[in-house]
């Protein structure tokens, strides 16, 4: 009798413990590189922080649920030193040695184009974020999925503002000589020409440029009152500072990427009235189909890192959300099934709408997301970044000198 009771208790214990035992998590490896060093450092680390926040939140809730399994997200990442050569080596390593089941892209169009070659060779699904150049998606890929709006959209907002406010303004295009900035500039040059706007300078500079004096003298000589261009954080912030020092007297300046970073405010007066095309701002009011709102994300990011997120961090976080959604919808971590869900996806997250092109000519290109234009404005002695366009999303009026 006592033995049978003991067996009963043991059986009950095992039965109660079974769900816990069965719920031991498997691991889902996601691989990517981060530019911990090199000129892309500032923006890349911001993107990585978005990835990290997403991973920590998912794992805190028990991981991604697929059937009766919970997958703990594990990142495998390396420093690509902002170099294409390192990206090539490291993505091969992530796939072949580290068994990364899914990939996130590095930061920047140039590095992502290199990573995409490797990911496609191995048939791995890669969510690209921090990479806007559209050409990468025109090379016949099957497993790339772009989170950002393409480069062709970046300066369209600024040009629309100029068309409305000062259609005869003389415009100087000065931009970094790299795939992303050139793609943005060339698309904008085409649009400006179609709109019969006056282009007085078109010049690219090396990304390692620190002396913008000769270029700024050319801008002044061209009698331009508008400057559109820039590249990434290091060169963009230096250009902004030197434009201020040399009193270039431009009535409107839109620079890519750099002004979106909260760090840009450290330039003080040199940052005032500079605008930036933005993939996302904390003030956006998208109603997400799943995941947090923009404000909830911003609050969580600030709590973890002590700074407000820019769009690089938001893009990183959104990449995680979108991948998670696709895995959950597919109820599988099989890459083909996840890719099929990504191809069908048309959702809204804290980042905005996400929908991928599925035709072979531009597979994975982001066709659902809209950009905004933000501007640093001095209010009561403090610099704040306001959304100024489109009108439906704005938090402040446009300031044009």
């Amino acid at each position: 009798m006592q033995l049978s009771r003991l067996c009963l208790v043991a059986a009950a214990t095992v039965a109660l413990a079974s769900p816990a035992l069965a719920a031991d998590n498997d691991t889902l490896n996601i691989g990517f590189t981060v530019s911990q060093t090199g000129k892309l450092n500032t923006d890349s680390v911001a993107q990585m922080r978005g990835f990290d926040l997403w991973r920590d939140e998912v794992n805190a809730k028990g991981g991604i649920k697929v059937d009766d399994k919970n997958y703990t997200i594990k990142f495998v990442s390396y420093d690509d030193e902002s170099q294409n050569g390192r990206v090539q080596q490291l993505y091969t390593r992530l796939i072949a040695q580290d068994n990364a089941q899914f990939l996130f892209s590095p930061y920047s169009s140039g590095l992502t184009a290199t990573a995409a070659i490797i990911s496609e060779q191995y048939g791995k699904v890669m969510l690209t974020t921090g990479a806007a150049e559209g050409k990468t998606y025109e090379l016949g890929n099957k497993n790339l999925f772009q989170v950002y709006s393409p480069a062709s959209e970046y300066l369209s907002g600024a040009l629309r503002v100029l068309k409305e406010k000062d259609p005869t303004a003389k415009i100087a295009f000065v931009y970094e000589d790299d795939p992303f900035s050139k793609a943005v500039a060339h698309a904008a040059l085409d649009l400006a020409a179609k709109e019969h706007m006056t282009i007085v300078l078109d010049e690219a500079y090396s990304g390692s440029t620190t002396d913008f004096g000769p270029i700024i003298n050319k801008i002044i000589a061209s009698k331009a009152v508008v400057l559109l261009g820039g590249g990434h954080y290091a060169d963009g912030s230096t250009l902004a500072r030197q434009l201020y020092d040399q009193k270039a007297n431009l009535k409107w300046v839109t620079l890519l990427v750099a002004p979106d970073s909260p760090k840009f405010a450290e330039l003080g007066a040199a940052a005032t009235d500079i605008s930036v095309p933005s993939q996302w701002e904390p003030q956006v009011t998208f109603r997400p189909d799943f995941g947090p709102t923009a404000q909830e994300f911003s609050k969580a990011f600030n709590a973890k890192y002590g700074v407000d997120p820019g769009y690089h961090a938001a893009g990183g976080y959104a990449a995680g959300l979108i991948l998670q959604r696709a895995i959950e919808q597919a109820n599988s971590i099989d890459p083909a099934k996840v890719a099929a869900e990504l191809n069908k996806m048309d959702v809204t997250t804290m980042f905005g709408r996400t929908k991928f092109a599925t035709d072979a000519k531009q597979h994975g290109l982001q066709i659902g997301h809209d950009m905004v234009l933000a501007q640093w404005q001095m209010k009561d002695g403090k610099l704040t970044k306001e959304v100024i366009w489109p009108a439906a999303a704005k938090t402040a009026d446009i300031v044009m000198n």
């Binding site: 450092n41 030193e81 002396d211 050319k218």
Partner: protein, 286 residues
């Protein structure tokens, strides 16, 4: 016309700083036949020295300049004894390898300490504006300081006994030794002076542009071009060569993309090597 003048003036101002950097390289070559491949890394150390004194310790960048110069001299003398003394008089490959090794060590240590993120020294001076163009106070001050340092070097080399000893060792070390000049100490002093000039140019560049631990490569290349323009072993020629290079860049940039400048520089480099192997300004030699 105002635009061309602005470009030329800017070119000459920054050219003076490049000339100062090249003076360090050419002085070392002229005295001891060593091509210092760690020249670029040393320029960057000058930048970081100013950064720490001004941004971390809060000193005014220009007031901190003498401290940077003293640090540069001490570092140069130490570097001589560690990496250069034993390869003096040996085949050139040994001194190239030795200084290249120093370069790699400095960059490796620097990357570990400071990563490759950009740094800035915050400096603000009143600027001068004319016809819509602005000549920043920092550029003007950098050129003035470069000229003053070059002038002090001239006085040292031509108006002091130590300078006479340096020129004697540069001309004929054996004869200088026989005359009672302690040539080893003079070589250490000369290397220290060369490194001091590199530190000083790094310090001035830091007041103008952001920098990283990897910034030295570009300035080292410019120093080689300027050294060839001025004549190897000719500090006075190096300063003039730097100003000349700045002048050429200033005259060219209004008419062509700025990204073509390296092509202009190195075309000039090749032409001078072929047509003026002793340098364009070799008449102003030591």
């Amino acid at each position: 016309m105002a635009g061309l003048l602005a470009s030329v003036v800017d070119g000459v101002l920054i050219g003076a700083v490049y000339g100062l950097a090249a003076m360090g390289l050419t002085l070392i070559w002229g005295v001891m036949n060593v091509i210092n491949l760690s020249h670029g890394a040393i320029i960057v150390l000058g930048m970081f020295a100013l950064y720490y004194l001004s941004s971390v310790l809060g000193l005014n960048p220009y007031a901190a300049s003498p401290i940077v110069i003293v640090i540069g001299f001490v570092a140069g003398v130490l570097l001589y004894w560690i990496a250069v003394h034993r390869v003096i008089g040996r085949p050139h490959l040994m001194s190239l390898l030795s200084t290249f090794a120093v370069n790699m060590v400095l960059i490796g240590l620097g990357t570990a300490l400071w990563s490759t993120s950009p740094y800035n020294v915050s400096v603000s001076l009143p600027s001068v504006s004319w016809e819509g163009y602005t000549y920043t106070g920092t550029h003007i001050m950098a050129a003035i300081i470069a000229a003053v340092i070059a002038g002090l070097l001239y006085l040292l080399l031509y108006r002091t006994r130590i300078g006479k000893a340096i020129r004697a060792v540069a001309a004929n070390r054996a004869a200088a030794e026989l005359s009672g000049i302690p040539t080893t100490q003079i070589l250490a002093l000369s290397f220290g002076l060369g490194v001091t000039l590199a530190f000083a140019s790094g310090m001035l560049i830091a007041t103008l542009f952001p920098f990283t631990i990897l910034s030295g490569g570009a300035y080292q290349l410019k120093s080689f071009v300027v050294t060839v323009l001025g004549g190897l072993g000719n500090p006075g020629g190096a300063l003039l060569g730097g100003i000349f290079l700045g002048l050429i860049e200033g005259m060219a940039t209004p008419f062509m993309p700025v990204s073509w400048m390296p092509m202009i520089e190195f075309t000039l480099f090749v032409i001078v090597l072929i047509a003026f192997p002793r340098g364009i300004f070799s008449f102003s030699g030591t």
